[in-house]
Symmetry: C2
Subunit: 710 residues, 2 copies
């Protein structure tokens, strides 16, 4: 039972308290052998200091590690609020039945061998899912490694991880149990602390969206780290994930971004792993921060868990090491951060206490002579500067300077500033092992600071933006509905250029002036309406590639040329075998050359409905240099699309052109999205080219092609 | 004195033995205080077990830590082979004079405060450089942190690093002393071992090229890691660095790749830091492997130091963790490696000993039930497979499995295979601390394996390729020389389109058929020679942008159109103010539309001579999607240029076009390079467009523009 998907709001998440905040837990399948998973969970639960009551269930023994052992849940005499099921696959269902009958209100099924293994497992999982849903009991798993909640009043550890959870403010939700195990075991050299953890397993009951909503509502959670391989319905995802991102940052690592990766992911969870450019767009639309790899996921999560959000992108670097400072600056700039130079006045203040050889720009380089006191004073001074949004302190161990003292000095300076401070202290494992750090974000190499500060700055910007809205334009929807109805009746699913342009125009997207000419004698009147120079294009739904059959003539400058071109075009079409049905010829005004875009709509290989844009030309095609967004698309989304389009700077002042009238292009994209969402039977729209000009009136679709689902 | 630059071969590197293999060392400026740099160097030298004689020099004391102390080098009574100078800046020169007078054969000047500090320092450094060069004594520094050589028969540590060197096969050469210190201190959790280290400082004597050549010739060095911020002459660099790369891999990290980074680098070494796309191209042309960041530099160096080179790009992943295996696969694919599936026969063999839930594709996922024995058997089996070029073993700690045992099992399997094995063992610091690993490359996160294996595969491919050669074509050099001489005489430095095409054609680059028309009555004959359709282009060195003044008319299909177009063009030109000198009009055959390239030559902002290529169109311009190579350019280089050109797949079968006749385009690039190297006064050549076609005869320059140095 997915709690989120079954309701339109996210109120049901309190049901998950039965999983994350139970007053009593039964471990069903606890074994006497210390190597058994059930026993490990029982030990972890006891060792971590769970505040509730614990029951061990195992019909074969009477006692485990001093704890009395019940033969069955029904034998306990009271209903445990939560049952953790670690029994062989064959008896999972009977055990779950028994739990439900006894009044258990939450289930965690660790046992593997379901959907991810074989058909029999899939069938069993379906029964499991149905039974839990029927009873209204939240179910985590099967095929998972459990959950924990480090709330000091609860201290619930239901994992079999060999490393105890370190409390903190990161909720880690993982579609891979093993990645969860890895992350939890990284207690060394990284001050990472967790509020919640959930290994999602096969998501037969509780889904990643349920867990996301729960962590979003959890007060001790300041940031959510999410490992995702697959997802369910895009609309639900967008709604729930964005709702959470509005409240706290969600950092997402996507596994399965390559052909092999997708195949491997599908085999280990049994779910069809999904990846496409559209999925990535969906994550961004939901306000998520995408991490490139595991280390980045953890560093960024640590950043959000420990640092206040920056107010801008201006970073100061303070270092005692030239080269590492340079490398940090390189990476910060590459990640879109700014490194303003220090004002002369501030430099003079610094000069009074640093070594003579110190360099006072940005980075401020204290050189090998930098002391803890200098680090502290310089950090305070830089953090007090109005043009500092974040500080990166880099330290390389010289002889006779204590790294611990320098870190303390930086932390003391950070403590008073409402700005994020990242400390890059490579090769300081013993120092970091103490993990006493809580005022700054700790990374090892200076380069690792860049993705952290960049993610924090971008999230802060996203939070401060007005939320996008999905506008509704007044359009001639009825006209399009009638045309589509007619086409379906006659069994056609490809619209010809004239029909396509008519649909586009009905939705208020500007199109180049044109008339449909059915006979040669209409040419004269047509050309007078449209005005020279003109283009001729064959109008036929049967001709897929007009240019290839010689069905397009451009740059016709006179009536004489027009007539000659018309006849030549008709001769060429007559020679095409098999001949297609030709409705006539489109006589269209030649649009002045400007920046050619392709705007479009598709349903991608996963069925995700996406609006897309790219520059025209073969390079954009070769590079697949396209930007896209999943429906529903907001005004904010289309603005961001054009801003991040590869080569998008051609839309500004470029090559003597004035900047493009962006609002007009944006509105066309929004209208295109409205068309696609009004007519789910439309599978493809191409406005190619859409001429983008500095004059709003000159922005228009020159050609169009619409395809309906077959 | 740069040893390399002063000779055409690299034989003089044996002079550097005075620095890297001295029989005796004097530390001039050794202090009694344990915190002094001189004292630290002395202590390091003694502690590391140097096999030669050590002399401490300090006029103020008689003894340091039990060692007798001489008041001056001259007082020692014999000439130490090497002197390490750690005295205040003001006395560096007198001390160096004295050392030279006494017969010292090598100098390491640690003292800072020279060119990087102020003018006085720059003047002092110049004197220092002159003195050492005059005496023929190799000088490392000033402003450096020393050097070491871990050769067991020598054990020379002349650094003040607080961490002793760990012996191994990586030579680390650094233009940043601090980065050196950082790297040397990374002994924890990384099995990195070094043969040589040199902090290059201000390079007043020994340059990075000298050190590179020395490390290239050092037998204990298997791989060179190089941190570079600046460089000297490109020709020397290309010659020396490529010579070294032919023998052993050189992994290079470039500091100063951003505006701020370049500025910061310039301030800390006093040299003008350089970065440009051309510099990056130069590094690649030299066969170097570029690392993205410090961690990658170290991981890749470790890879080359420990693993045999792979024979191809096919990687097998063996894991006990689903998600981390997926993430590894994602990154391997993104880095251009291949992950072939396992043949059914091999799967059957695996099936016989792995857990039933194991997944047997690629990755092979042993699941949480994977034991050391399974790892060993599976690794052996995978390494024995003909379609395995490298193995990545991923391990995430489950309860009750020993990471050390699994690592040992993987190492044992690796020991028998002549293929690189990478072990990704995250969160295994205590295990890695032991660093007993010598059969496999150790990284922490699975994603970190991808750049390592990719670098190794690419280097192996580069090594196996036939070496490129710089061909000499028979060309009409004299004709070009006469034209250029004429232009210089009349004070012109921009060639008009007709002159430019003539130069290009003289170098055997095909150009579109054309005639120069000076008067209207020549049009008819011209058109008959060229053949319709034709284009008209104004021929004038004073008209920079022909199109913008209406100086180009395309697609003229008849004699009547030609005459009308000619007159209209002349009218437009007459209206241009100020009027330029017009030599006539180029009547040129219209070339059928095909893939338009821009081929060119430039001297970049650093003066580097580069040949470049990109696709035509505004997107390529906006993205600066250009590939380039520094002269001299080999046949291999131009082939690689076209292969790596952004969007280069349009040169294959694309959009109904046949694949481009690449050899013809390559030859044109080589001829262009020959033109540029024959005439150093040429500062710019543009062939725009160069039409690339599937027919060799249809590949041709359609327009050309040549500019001479003013």
């Amino acid at each position: 039972m997915s709690l989120v998907a079954s309701s339109s709001s996210v109120t049901n998440v309190t049901l998950l308290d039965h999983l994350f905040r139970p007053r009593s837990v039964a471990v069903v399948g606890a074994s006497t052998s210390r190597e058994g998973v059930g026993r490990q969970i029982l030990d972890n639960l006891l060792d971590f200091g769970y505040s509730g009551r614990v029951f061990a269930v195992n019909p074969k023994v009477h006692e485990i590690g001093g704890l009395p052992c019940y033969p069955a849940v029904s034998a306990i005499g009271e209903a445990p609020e939560l049952a953790v099921v670690v029994v062989p696959r064959a008896v999972v269902l009977p055990v779950v039945e028994e739990c439900i009958a006894c009044g258990v209100q939450g289930l965690v099924v660790i046992t593997a061998g379901f959907r991810e293994l074989d058909r029999e497992g899939a069938a069993l999982e379906e029964q499991l899912r149905g039974r839990a849903a029927e009873a209204g009991v939240p179910l985590l798993g099967p095929n998972c490694m459990g959950l924990f909640n480090t709330d000091p009043s609860l201290r619930l550890n239901l994992t079999f991880s060999p490393v105890p959870p370190r409390p903190g403010h990161i909720a880690f939700l993982s579609q891979s149990g093993a990645l969860g195990a890895l992350v939890l075991s990284l207690t060394h050299g990284r001050p990472l602390g967790y509020s919640l953890f959930a290994s999602l397993g096969n998501e037969a009951g509780v889904t990643h969206l349920d867990a996301l909503a729960y962590a979003g509502a959890d007060e001790r959670t300041w940031v959510i780290a999410l490992y995702l391989e697959t997802f369910l319905r895009p609309e639900d995802f967008l709604r729930v994930a964005r709702g959470v991102a509005e409240v706290k940052p969600v950092v997402c690592l996507k596994g399965g971004r390559s052909e092999t990766g997708v195949r491997a992911a599908s085999s280990h969870t049994g779910a069809l792993a999904t990846f496409s450019r559209a999925f990535e767009a969906l994550l961004r639309q939901a306000g998520m921060i995408l991490a490139e790899n595991t280390e980045e996921l953890l560093n960024i999560a640590q950043g959000f868990a420990q640092g206040p959000l920056p107010r801008g992108r201006r970073v100061r670097v303070l270092t005692n090491a030239g080269g590492p400072g340079v490398l940090a600056a390189d990476l910060l700039e590459r990640h879109g951060l700014q490194l303003p130079q220090l004002a002369a006045e501030r430099q003079a203040q610094l000069r009074s206490f640093v070594a003579p050889r110190a360099s006072l720009g940005n980075p401020v380089d204290l050189t090998v002579e930098g002391t803890p006191a200098m680090y502290n004073s310089a950090a305070r001074l830089l953090l007090a500067d109005g043009a500092t949004d974040a500080l990166l302190a880099v330290f390389v161990q010289p002889p006779h300077v204590s790294g611990a003292d320098v870190l303390l000095a930086v932390e003391q300076a950070a403590g008073t500033a409402e700005r994020p401070v990242v400390a890059a202290f490579p090769a300081q494992e013993d120092l970091l092992r103490k993990s006493c750090v809580d005022k700054c974000v700790l990374v090892d190499f200076p380069e690792a600071a860049a993705p952290v500060l960049s993610a924090m700055a971008r999230y802060a910007e996203w939070r401060s933006l007005p939320r996008g809205r999905v506008p509704r334009f007044a359009v001639r929807q009825e006209q399009v509905a009638r045309l589509i109805e007619h086409l379906r009746r006659v069994g056609r699913h490809v619209l010809d250029v004239e029909e396509s342009l008519a649909v586009v125009r009905a939705y208020g997207i500007p199109v180049a002036r044109h008339v449909l000419v059915r006979e040669e004698r209409e040419l004269d009147a047509g050309a007078r309406r449209v005005g020279f120079p003109v283009a001729l294009k064959v109008v036929s739904a049967d001709v897929l590639h007009k240019t290839e059959v010689g069905g397009v003539v451009l740059g016709i400058r006179s009536q004489a040329e027009l007539e000659a071109a018309y006849r030549a075009l008709m001769r060429r079409l007559a020679a095409v075998r098999p001949a297609g049905r030709v409705r006539g010829v489109l006589l269209q005004q030649m649009v002045p050359r400007d920046r050619e875009l392709i705007l479009g709509f598709r349903r991608d290989e996963q069925g995700l409905p996406v609006v897309l844009a790219r520059l025209g030309g073969i390079l954009a095609e070769a590079l697949e240099a396209v930007v896209l967004r999943v429906l529903p698309v907001t005004d904010y989304d289309v603005r961001a699309m054009l801003a991040e389009m590869p080569g998008g700077r051609v839309l500004g002042a470029f090559r003597g052109w004035e900047p493009v009238a962006l609002p007009t292009v944006e509105e066309s994209l929004l209208r295109l999205a409205q068309l696609a969402s009004d007519f789910p039977m439309i599978s493809e729209v191409d406005l190619n080219p859409f001429m983008a000009s500095s004059h709003p009136a000159a922005c228009q679709a020159v050609d169009a092609r619409i395809v309906l689902a077959a």
